[in-house]
């Protein structure tokens, strides 16, 4: 089985080759292109699972110490920088999830982008190229053995998210029906926002990377996390903190951007402008998972700073995580767009993962990452299926001549136009319910186990410390977040699947093709049983599998938290209450009504619906001033100071030249130079009278002269 490790480089390479093949050769053949992409990622999944199996069989020495393949890459001064690949228990756990979820999403995309249908997307092949590259980025990130390769993959994903979110940001031909102008603009803005916002985080990570590289001379994880290296980093003081803390915080900045944590979360909801499979890809298996993965991977740095100097790197992770978890969930309550609700749910769930990591528990955070990837992919693909059904229903309604009067504003994403879809789309409905229950955290669905582990961890820390410190607030935020999560999911399923259809599109909606519902069912199975991977009553297998990866650093310790019935019970009760409550309140919502939450919450609801006005705040505080500054600097450069100065120097030079010229003309030129010339000129003018041009005159002069000379000669 060890043989499989040699294939590790292929895991990111295969989708990368698929990308290259589609872009360079097969982009004119849509079916072939998507088959290459799907085949690539499926092959990658096979290899990955082979590696996972090999890791399981290889036992502790690989799971904990890892397998490595260094490759000399970059000559740096007197040393050579190695890049390479590594696999340990943690990587293996990710390798189990990432390519598989990607495969499901790829298969689903074939249906979603209407392969072979008349309304097939005109850039169908390109879409598959991009998502292949996306998958390659994420897989490269997971198998990287050093921070630089991780960062490269990280940025490749950033690029792909830009391309995919903006996938509909331009119109190809006139025959593209389902893209309206407003969407083009929104997609364009969203793509830019996603890239720039995450870029802010990326730059922080890049600085952290450069700092780390400067102080240690290496970026290979195994070497950075050596105890002596951590100690060395802890002993350097930088900006009043140990360097290790600074680096950890900078890296966390990257994670905040990528994993859409507060305050850099703003791009994620807008990222819904991309095609739905992209949302699933970004929200579940890739992109946002990358940030969490990074923090988990770098956990020794966070902990080291925390332990050596009581510096707050780790606490920041927990605080940001808790804030995000609560704050994201509340916004989710007030959104109408089916995908936006899920987007805020993702933000909130990522907050949970950060909470888990911030408490120092690698396994709790990653366990939630894994289960969340399955059920969130499921929910997104399910919502995509609903949207797809609604769009078809809309077309069908249009074909039947039943266009309603407010048809112009129709959005297939708006939950208020849906209703009663559980009868129309049963094969979407049941997996969606599985995903909902998993997200809300009902026993025995996956989310229950993973979320509970985080809350149990917080609870236990609180009990240990005994004070109302950080762990308590984290636990409280988590539990309240769970309640709100259940509420908005109850509201969502009630609005989408229950009640009466509130629009012709919903009336005519029909079930999506098998290529879409198939992946839903597969994912639903994982949403149901995924939690068993680390279930306490099975002895927390995941914990044993990957818990030890940071042992070598001597700062991160893996200790299982015992299953706490009080915590689990409370969160289950809260989840059930919320889910049923939300469902009951919205079950009979009718079109055009003011919705109940809005009635009860009033201005708070408006605040939530407008996402706490964070976007507007950024627009006001950052974007406009920067653009203004750019304009002013340009004016400074071109109009006010720099260039005018240059021109002034030129003008002064020219003025000096003019003055010299004047002097030159009056005194030197006309006096001396021209005076001489004039004198000669006058003399010449007189002299030239002799030049008659008649040859005989000249000859006469010659003859006379000769005679005179002769006379002189003879008589003198």
């Amino acid at each position: 089985m060890e043989f499989f490790f040699n294939l590790v480089p292929l895991i990111p390479l295969i989708p990368l080759l698929a990308f290259a093949a589609i872009v360079l050769f097969t982009h004119r053949n849509n079916r072939l292109s998507s088959n290459i992409a799907i085949g690539g990622i499926a092959l990658s999944t096979l290899v990955s699972w082979g590696v996972v199996l090999a890791t399981i069989l290889a036992g502790e020495h690989v799971q904990v110490e890892g397998w490595e393949l260094p490759i000399p890459w970059l000559p740096t001064g007197t040393t050579v920088f190695n890049t390479g690949f590594a696999v340990d228990g943690f990587t293996a756990a990710m390798l189990f999830m990432v390519p598989f979820v990607c495969t499901m999403i790829f298969i689903y995309s074939q249906g979603y982008m209407n392969l072979g249908q008349p309304n097939q997307d005109p850039r169908y092949a390109r879409f598959f190229a991009y998502i292949s590259l996306f998958a390659a980025g994420m897989l490269g990130l997971v198998v990287a053995d050093n921070l630089l390769l991780l960062f490269i993959s990280w940025e490749v994903m950033g690029l792909c998210s830009y391309l995919l979110i903006g996938f509909w940001s331009f119109r190809d031909r006139d025959n593209e029906q389902h893209i309206d102008e407003a969407q083009v603009k929104r997609a364009r803005a969203a793509a830019l926002k996603a890239f720039i916002t995450t870029r802010v985080g990326d730059v922080l990570l890049f600085s952290g990377l450069a700092l780390l590289f400067s102080y240690t001379g290496t970026l290979t994880f195994r070497e950075i996390f050596r105890p002596d290296m951590l100690e060395h980093l802890g002993s350097i003081s930088l900006l009043g903190m140990p360097a290790v803390t600074v680096i950890a915080l900078l890296a966390f900045g990257g994670a905040v951007g990528k994993s859409a944590q507060f305050p850099l979360h703003v791009w994620l909801p807008d990222a819904m402008e991309g095609p739905t499979p992209v949302s699933a890809l970004i929200h579940a298996a890739t992109m946002v998972a990358a940030g969490v993965y990074l923090v988990a991977r770098m956990l020794p740095l966070f902990v080291a700073g925390f332990e050596t100097a009581n510096a707050p790197a780790l606490q920041w992770v927990a605080v940001i995580g808790a804030i995000t978890a609560f704050f994201g969930a509340t916004i989710g309550l007030a959104q109408d767009d089916i995908k936006r609700v899920l987007a805020y749910s993702t933000i909130s769930q990522l907050g949970y993962m950060m909470m888990g990591l911030g408490l120092g528990s690698l396994v709790a955070g990653i366990f939630h990452l894994l289960t969340h990837a399955f059920f969130k992919a499921l929910l997104f693909l399910g919502s995509g299926s609903v949207i797809h059904g609604m769009e078809h229903g809309h077309h069908a309604a249009g074909a039947h001549g039943q266009t309603s009067q407010h048809d112009d504003g129709f959005s297939a994403n708006d939950m208020k136009t849906m209703g009663g879809l559980r009868h129309k789309m049963p094969r979407t409905f049941w997996p969606y319910m599985a995903g909902t229950l998993a997200l809300v955290g009902i026993v025995p669905f996956a989310g229950f186990w993973s979320k509970d582990e985080i809350l149990a961890e917080a609870f236990q820390r609180w009990q240990e410390s005994g004070a109302l410190g950080l762990p308590f607030w984290v636990w409280l935020a988590g539990t309240l977040g769970a309640l709100i999560t259940a509420l908005y999911m109850g509201r969502q399923i009630a609005l989408v699947f229950w009640g009466e259809p509130r629009h012709e599109a919903a009336t005519h909606a029909h079930e999506s093709p098998n290529s879409m519902t198939g992946p839903l069912m597969v994912l639903a199975v994982f949403a149901l049983i995924g939690g068993l991977a680390n279930a306490p009553f099975l002895g927390s297998p995941l914990h044993h599998f990957m818990g030890g990866v940071h042992e070598a650093s001597e700062v991160v310790h893996s200790a299982t938290v015992s299953f706490n019935f009080a915590v689990a019970g409370l969160s289950t009760v809260v989840a059930l209450l919320g889910l049923l409550g939300g469902w009951a309140i919205y079950r009979n919502y009718r079109a055009g009504e003011v919705e109940p939450f809005q009635r009860w919450l009033g201005p708070i609801f408006t605040l939530l619906r407008n996402k706490y006005y964070v976007d507007e705040l950024y627009q006001l505080v950052i974007i406009r001033p920067v653009v203004w500054l750019a304009d002013q600097v340009f004016n400074f450069d071109n109009r006010w100071v720099v260039d005018p100065l240059v021109n002034l120097v030129g003008a002064v030079g020219r003025a000096a030249a003019d003055i010299s010229l004047l002097f030159d003309k009056v005194a030197v030129d006309s006096g001396l130079v021209e005076g001489t010339a004039k004198a000669f000129n006058a003399f010449g003018g007189w002299l030239r009278q002799t030049q008659t041009g008649r040859v005989q005159n000249y000859l006469l002069v010659v003859a006379v002269t000769v005679l005179m000379l002769l006379g002189l000669y003879l008589y003198l």
Partner: protein, 513 residues
């Protein structure tokens, strides 16, 4: 000395220019393709030379020496090391591509254009190869004249080409004069023009005031050429006015002359002074980086935007250089960091040549079709010109430093070095990275390519009567861009072939200061 690589590389373009000037002016086809062919010879020679260069040794190789002007004690001295090899290669590559591209796009006064271009190539290569101050200065000045004419004659009439050309010429000349005075002062105290010898002697050591004056004199010449803020305003004007190939060479190679001068002359001559003034020059580098990026963001003229982005990108170079010069410590961790910073700076020059050269070609692509560079006049072109979109996207991403493409590697190395030696500067400098992403994606990609394509707007700017090639990038344009794209990817994915020589040389230079 066996095979005179350096002499041949330098003077074959001159011979070609002379021969081309003997071809009757109306035989444009012959002149064009002859020039392209001539420019291929130095390209091939520089590749062969790179292959033969012994990479483990960072010092000068392929040295040539002959007495030139005995009364002046000036020698004809040439040599290459790992700093100059990539730059010579860059020069020959970009010249060939520019000539190839111009063969399709230059319509007026064809003969003069190609002859001047070959002469320009000689001047640029000569600067990178000469090891004698007199020779260096002569080549430095030779390059000015053809460029001046290229801007002035073939510039777009509405962009004030004469003004730009004269501004370029005078600006550079001011620096040159200061540099010449400094050179003479150095010669008077050391008695030699030999760059390597002066480096090891440490000129003007006994007269500190004169040394400072000489330092700033030379600094001014190179800073104008690089260009550093606040000596940069000739750049956007010259770029905007110049014909496409001229802009490519201007950004791709001429700016590198200044950078090369810093590394070859100023740093080895005055390491202690450089160290002393490093904090100040570092501030200039930061201003160039951030200021250039901000001004780029405010542009509505595509070419001007890219011109200003050069100011910003050459700021990264300066930061790397300053980091390498900010300490004289040659003990191991610091020497490594300094060498990394210097290698990053040199690689940044190479990358900037490839990337910004490419960007100017791409501006040419759209300008030849529409005769406008106004960002507001475009929109939604990705649907109309998908290949162009793809190529521009890749080049733009390389420019903003996306990992996996060339720009990232050099930025990483620069910051890797800078973070160790001058962390405060580095932290401020990273702001420029975000701004770069913003102006590339927001201004270029979004305004030109994304959004709704409007047939009406397009018809207002595009006249099919004047464009005889395909609407999307024509084959010759793709061929022009292909080598550049290849190098963006190669350097981004596997930089070792280029970085090996650079790294050996920068370690050697810093070790011998």
């Amino acid at each position: 000395m066996d095979f005179p690589f350096l002499t041949l590389i330098t003077f074959i373009p001159l011979v070609g220019a002379i021969i081309a000037s003997l071809i009757p002016g109306d035989r444009e086809r012959e002149i064009k393709w002859f020039s392209v062919f001539v420019s291929l010879i130095p390209l091939v020679l520089s590749i062969v030379m790179w292959a033969l260069y012994v990479q483990t040794d960072g010092g000068m190789q392929f040295m040539e020496e002959a007495v030139w002007i005995p009364t002046l004690n000036a020698y004809y001295r040439m040599g290459v090391d790992g700093i100059s090899i990539p730059l010579v290669f860059l020069t020959t590559l970009l010249t060939t591509l520019s000539l190839f591209y111009s063969a399709y796009t230059i319509k007026k006064r064809v003969k003069e254009f190609f002859v001047l271009f070959l002469m320009l190539e000689m001047g640029m290569i000569g600067v990178f190869l000469s090891l004698d101050l007199v020779l260096f200065y002569v080549f430095w000045e030779i390059g000015l004249v053809p460029m001046f004419l290229l801007i002035g004659i073939w510039g777009q009439p509405k962009d004030r080409p004469q003004y730009s050309a004269i501004k370029f010429f005078l600006y550079t000349l001011v620096g040159s004069v200061a540099m010449l005075l400094a050179f003479i002062a150095i010669f008077l105290t050391t008695g030699t023009w030999n760059i390597l010898e002066i480096s090891s002697l440490g000129p003007l050591a006994d007269s500190p005031a004169l040394a400072v004056a000489a330092f700033w004199g030379i600094f001014l010449a190179f800073a104008i050429k690089v260009p550093m803020w606040p000596f940069h305003t000739w750049l956007p004007d010259a770029h905007t006015a110049a014909p496409t190939a001229g802009s490519v060479i201007l950004a791709g190679v001429l700016l590198k002359l200044g950078g090369y001068g810093f590394i070859r002359i100023l740093l080895p001559f005055f390491p202690a002074l450089f160290k002393q003034f490093a904090p100040f020059i570092g501030v200039i580098a930061l201003i160039s980086m951030i200021y250039g990026a901000l001004v780029s963001m405010a542009q509505w003229d595509l070419k001007r935007l890219i011109a200003y982005s050069s100011v910003s990108h050459m700021g990264y170079f300066t930061l790397g250089l300053v980091a390498a010069a900010a300490t004289l410590d040659v003990s191991d961790p610091l020497l490594t960091s300094r060498a990394i910073a210097l290698s990053g700076a040199v690689l940044q020059m190479f990358n900037h040549g490839i990337i910004t050269g490419g960007l100017f070609f791409l501006v040419g692509v759209i300008y030849e079709r529409t005769h406008t560079r106004d960002l507001k006049a475009f929109g939604g072109l990705s649907a109309k010109l998908p290949v162009y979109y793809g190529v521009m996207m890749m080049t733009g991403l390389a420019s903003l430093g996306l990992p996996g493409l060339a720009g990232f590697i050099s930025e990483l190395l620069v910051f890797r070095g800078a973070f160790h030696i001058m962390p405060t500067y580095a932290i401020i400098g990273v702001i420029a990275i975000v701004l770069t992403a913003a102006y590339i994606l927001w201004k270029i990609i979004q305004y030109v390519f994304l959004g709704e394509f409007s047939e009406e707007k397009w018809r207002a700017i595009f006249d099919p009567e004047h464009w005889h090639f395909s609407l999307d990038m024509a084959r010759f344009e793709v061929i022009t861009m292909a080598p550049l794209l290849f190098f963006m990817l190669l350097v981004g994915v596997y930089p070792a072939p280029i970085l090996n020589v650079i790294n050996a040389a920068s370690t050697a230079i810093l070790g011998s200061l």
